[in-house]
Amino acid sequence: MRSNVANPKVDYFPLLELRKNMYILLQKLLSQPLSKNDYIQIKNNGNLDVIKGFGEGGEIIYNFFKVDNGTNSSVHEQEYYKLFIGPGTLLAPPWESIYRGKDRILYDYPSLEVAKIYDSFGLELVERNIEAEDHLVIELEFMIHLIESSSKENEIGSRFIDGQDLMLSQHLSKWIPDFTKDVLDNTESTLYRGFALLLNDFISFDTAYIKEFSL
């Protein structure tokens, strides 16, 4: 264990919770267009103060939910479709294979690699073919799983930390910057611009941060 943080054991566990919730928030913003209900939930029950200072993205997201009531939800929904689902040419296809493979197609080598990683941690897809393993939502879900598992452990420096390090340094950090650029280049929606910036900053932060704990 190496750390320059003042007292990792004390700081570590609350931070785990924070990091986990960050991944949950990012996942939430990506997995589906937000319904009116979602807006209300986030406004009323969410405590987004924490992300306010987290880079430009955090600021945007914080302000967005402070102000927006979901009245423009259909506009943002259409942006969501254009960016991530279609129909038509996806402007920011959220799969690692697209950004790291040569041909910009699904099921390239990254999907095989992360499938192997999930497998090594005892996980598999609930339903095969319903989504590729390297879709961002699933990679984020996996991070959440690892964080949850590592919080059950008492020792810092477990294989779940290694897993997070592996996912971040060998996978997420290698494609999120390009993915973020595609989102920013192709939408005016503050919601999704904020999401992309927050995602990018957080992944680069977390990639460095996790190194403090990996063996």
């Binding site: 320059n4 939930q41 029950n45 430009e56 479709y81 129909p87 040419t89």
Partner: protein
Amino acid sequence: MSIFKQIKENSISRRTFLKWSGASTAPLVLGGISTKKYLKPKEVRAEKMEDQVKVIPTCGTTNCGGRCLVKAHVKDGKIIRISTDDAEEDSLICPQIRACIRGRSYRKFIYNPNRLKYPMKRVGKRGEGKFERITWEEAINTIHKETERITDKYGPASRYSVYASGNWGGITSGRTMFNKLMGLTGGYLGYHNTYSSAQTSIATPYTYGTGASGSSLDSLVNSKLIILWGHNPAETIFGTSNFYLKKAKEAGAKIYVVDPRYSDTGVGLADEWFPIRPTTDNALMDAMTYVIITENLHDKKFLNKYCIGHDEKHMPKDIPEGESLESYILGKKDGVEKSPEWAEKICGLPANKIRQLAREYAMAKPAALIQGWGPQRHMNGEQIVRGSTVLASITGNVGKNGGWASGSGGFGRTSVASVPNVENPLGITIPCFLYTDAITHGTDMTAEDGIIGLKEGEGLPTNIKLLFNLAGNALVNQHGDINKTKEILEDENLVEFIVVSDVFMTPSAKFADILLPSNTFFERYDIGLPWGYGDYAILSQKVSESLYESKSDYEWLTLLAKKMGVEKEFTEGKTEKDWARWVIEETRKEDPEFPSWKQMQKQGIHKWKFEKPTIGFEKEIKDPENNPFPTPSGKIEIFSKDLWDMNKHEEIPAIPKHVPVDEGPESELTKKYPLQLIGWHYKRRCHSTHDNNPWMEEAGKQEMWMNEIDATERNINDGDITKVFNDRGIVHIPVKVTNRIVPGVVAIPQGAWYTPNKEGIDTRGSINVLTTQKPSPLAKGNPQHTNLVEVEKAQ
């Protein structure tokens, strides 16, 4: 790197981090937000995660005549590589069935991130392209509701499935299964013809009584001369044509190509290129006939024994004098001798070249004039078809090994069992090209418009009100006059409901009210057959599970059938896999050599071997007494009384003649639009499939061919973006300045996806922005190569 250094370098403020690292920080709370879980604990299983690579033979079922063997290399349920036929034997009677560049790029097709993934419903105006995601249940319910409503209001004849060939599979495509479902529930408006072969399939029987005028391709090794007339098998794969043409060359055959373009086939296989202007083929054919007759090179014995109409002595009863082929050619009635000097002004091929072509064709015994399907896709396409059959007849090349009867060249000596379907209780079919007419004024259309199944003077019972467009792009992209088609479809009072299923958001899919994600051929079972000339059948195997929520047409039509109360009759208790197995087992009953289901799963392909060629009309020529041609007279009808009786002698003459077209080199319109525009089938697409494949763009850029003379006149250089336009629309497309095309003609490869900019100008080069909806006179077919345009440099 230390975390503190990191913080200094990125935008996270130190305050935030300290806030974060303080144990008393209020956590980021999200109030019970949950998202769908994609991962679960692994099930305890005997096998480990698949590291093995399975190789599964299969084939594509796009509208491709080649239907090659494609081997999918599968690891952990994902296709990681595609390979093709590498069988030991690669002989004349049993060649390898190798994939072309399209087959090899299938991974980029199935794993394209832009695949349609979820059912969607339209929000906004029809054609705008705005959709939102719905469940399959909602999709099927909506389709069911609308189908019932429209059927109740307008009757079953308002239901129409648009001509579509994106899934040209053998057993349970959306095309055929729509017919079954609607046939079981009151009927539908059907269609006849295709966009490929309307003119030739209708016209050829007027000569021979049937369209089955082809022979097996191995017969070509016996030809002394092969003329590929508007036939480009190097790009439009017709079974194993290229292999056999090469073998023919090796055996000493001369190959000539007659085409407005020096096609890849011409470059690679031909000894000489004979360039002519589009729509003038009959002038050339007439002149060839002139040379052959005046130089006494015609096979008089053959003509007198097998044909009628070639001279005055051999005419049907009650036809006035001067209507025979000979009279027409020698100008006995109209005073115009159809000499090479007459023809060269029209078709552009110099008179001495016409003579060469005529003499060589007549004297090469035997010779094969293979009529491609390109030239028949003209406003006078029926004449071109009939003309080629006449040339074959006057030279006695019908029914001979190494000869070729020309015409549509329909052929098939192998077959598999067909899946049972249901007859349409309404029994009405329209020519498929007239579908937009049937939307705007169907009730005014009668048998005169080519409609089959109506009583005398009767119009269609209703206009088309409900459209199913399953696996096709002919709703918009491949149909004539896209701007007009758009207008018609955008009007929700005309067609009240449009269902589309496709793999991608094509220009046609944009017009859906309900848009359904289709799976690909890798994800379902089917039987793949080549067009006619190949002696093989391939089991198109399911190689991986359907991605996302995609379903095959058969699968969701089954759900709809259930709602409509006819599920049992529709599926007959079988899935697609069951049907594939059924076809194989039924075929085995008739043909015990055919492999079993298990064998087909392993080997994927069955190749029939025939020791010798099968020759079209061999029986009719060897033993005409007992095998008359299936024509009214029992003979080859150079002069067709049936055509004569139609009484449209100018447009539809009883013998094939050069009939000038409205948008051709001889028309007034050339003053405004001086250039002829044709299309062709491009090697990097299969019609419009693969247009969105970037690998294919590297292999073949979307560009228009233009002769150096025309380009220089207009100050256009190679690579310039040009504006191509006529009264029907405007297209922007880069130009390839080349002398591989006749002056006065430009060519845009068909199938590019219509991509309008804000001003409504197509920016991808979709040829149908410039084509017409007016049909050809006899077949009511699509004249998609008959167009006049002007070209300028784009600003």
